[in-house]
């Protein structure tokens, strides 16, 4: 994408926050419904960004918690949405959210559900998930960047609160 005369050169934080806050209410939106298969990721992205912008309070906490609870499966895995199957990716998303943002009421099963996908992408998520759930053999992982804390420390990168 090339910048043009009409492209903004600062982040329009209020507009971004408005968009995300309103996003979940568009239940009859076509793209929203079709992207149901990655809803848990969407929640992770939305909540993380709202937190970075200091606007987390605008999100509907109860509704989100109810939704997440409905995605917990007995095996310890988390699914993308209600009625979907558990998957490693969404289980990691929840592990990140649990650490950083939400205090869940009720029980949370800290068991890592193993997925059948053998590739670096999913291996990273598995290991990061284990780290966030407190596995001592693995380095601490920063939930915002999904990178080891010591690497972030060395390059001097800390998530900034935007305001």
């Amino acid at each position: 994408m090339t910048a043009t005369l009409f492209s903004p050169n600062t982040l329009l934080l209020d507009k971004h926050a408005d968009y995300i806050a309103a996003y979940g209410s568009k239940k009859d939106d076509y793209e929203y419904t079709l992207s149901e298969y990655l809803r848990m990721s969407g929640i992770y992205w939305g909540l993380t960004v709202m937190d970075l912008m200091g606007q987390l309070s605008r999100m509907n906490r109860e509704e989100i918690i109810e939704f997440i609870k409905s995605c917990q499966h007995d095996c310890g895995g988390i699914s993308a949405s209600t009625g979907h199957d558990p998957h490693l990716l969404y289980t990691l998303r929840l592990a990140i959210l649990y650490t950083e943002l939400i205090i869940l009421c009720g029980t949370f099963l800290p068991v890592l559900y193993i997925s059948i996908q053998v590739d670096p992408f999913h291996t990273l998520f598995g290991v990061a998930g284990l780290s966030l759930l407190g596995d001592e053999q693995i380095k601490p992982v920063n939930p915002v960047f999904c990178m080891p804390e010591d690497v972030l420390q060395r390059i001097g990168l800390q998530p900034d609160l935007l305001n």
Binding site: D28, Y30, Y37, D85, H87, I116, D119, R154
Partner: protein
Amino acid sequence: MHGRVKIKSTAQQEEEKRKEKEKKLKAFVSARDAVLKKRSAGEHDEEALQLTRQLLSSNPDFATLWNYRREVLLHLETLREKDEVQKLYESELHFIEACLKVNPKSYGCWHHRTWVNTRLPQPDWTRELGLCDRCLSLDERNFHCWDYRRVVVKASGVSVEQELQFTDRLIGSNFSNYSSWHYRSTLLPQLHPQPAPDSAPNTSPSPTTSPQFHSHRVCEEQLLKEYELSHNAFFTDPNDQSAWFYYRWLLGRAEREEMISCVYVSREGERVSVAFSKPVHAQSEGLMLVLDGQPQQVEWRSTHPRLRHSPVWLCDLPPGSISDMSNEHNLTIHWTEKHTHRDCALYTGCAESWCRDSATNLELFRSELSVEKSSVLQAELQSCNQLLELEPQNKWCLLTIILLMRALDPLGHEKETLAHFQTLKEVDPMRSTYYSDLCSKFLIENTILKMEYAEVRVFSLSNKNLTTLCHLDQLLFVTHINLSSNQLLRLPPHFAMLQCLEVLEADDNAIENLEGLYHLPKLEEVSLRNNQICKLSDLESLASCTKLTRLDLRGNPVHRTAHIESELSQLLPRVTALSL
């Protein structure tokens, strides 16, 4: 969507679009609800296949539906004859291909296709290979397709030679093909392996088991051909990274033979320290300690609780077994899992003893070069230097020059290497931390080599812009270490491997974490002036270093802590000379 320019449309067009989407949404929702309902009811019928097909055709990433589809197919298998099952799954393959056209990078599709081939009574691997060829011609870097191709090749017995020719074709038509170069690096060691080295020293020959040592390296004859191939590629387009990366792999070292690199014995501590060629979990390796012909019952422990897999392990000998200076002892550590062992003799009048191979002998940091290989690399270094004159900002060229110098003569080229790293950081500032770390690693390697040549136990690397520490497992026998005036942030858990350390100087860094100063049995003196130690808790691990008597903490923020002197004397009662 990404990268799409927003086109303004008329109000009417907007309304039409809205109505269209509403219709689609209704259809999707009713199909989705019907499917999920059927699944909860445990229905595995044709209707389930039909509904999932409808949904997956436009939305192939809806993973749960593929899961359901597999359940249905497995059930239908039980009701059909073999030839019907063949047809069922062949039609499934057609369906998957249609879905792949919608999203060629759909995890769900590729995974499902892999699964279908395990269920097909007669898989058609030629067709599958053809599919891979077609997908790769559309997108050479579709990693899903590459992974799938590897599955097909393995299952169908396509020869490594044929696959190598496949990469020849791809690379020949387009040098910028990272995936093909990478694939090549996995094939070559299979087709042209480097011959296994001679029996490692101290390996007991075993007629029943042959250690399957695969170095994942390439024999020299082929290696020289590969050097030329990549040379042509990166001189054709010096700004394409693929061939430079491949060349870097070619210059790399062989995987280390599994062996015990060092055994250290201390009479006073009645302790044995063992360094392995790679991190291990001692309790699972079948380690046996034999003292003067008698196997000893010992408990192995890591140097730091955070290191469950570690290259260095410790154990305590039964009290009194080696403490008498007038006795000579012979110790052997057997690594039964790898059929290797190492001896260490503790002589009369000696307080300690160790046995190790030098880094040079082990080819730890660089391989021994034949005359031919050496001259080829020398010529390459010259060519790259010429290229650098034409393209002084080319980071790939700079990095390759550094790697060539390390392969040829790391100590001789040290000064030039540092200068090139400086240029690299200016030319590629976004990766300056990576280059600083890599430079630190090379400097540490050089210092280890110098230390060995001088036959001393002092490791000194001050004022060298060190940003990280590594190869700490090679410093087991070091007594003095000077890391002052660098940019270190921490002494990590691995630092605890310096079991012989007596004096540590690490002034003028930015150290805030001392985790690695943990149960260092001989550590007497620590100087950490002008660092970033802020709280008393940062110093907790020092309490485990029972011989520590001198501690210099001047110029650290911790001195501002209330009652710091009394707190410290409580935490570290044995420290008699404390400077704040």
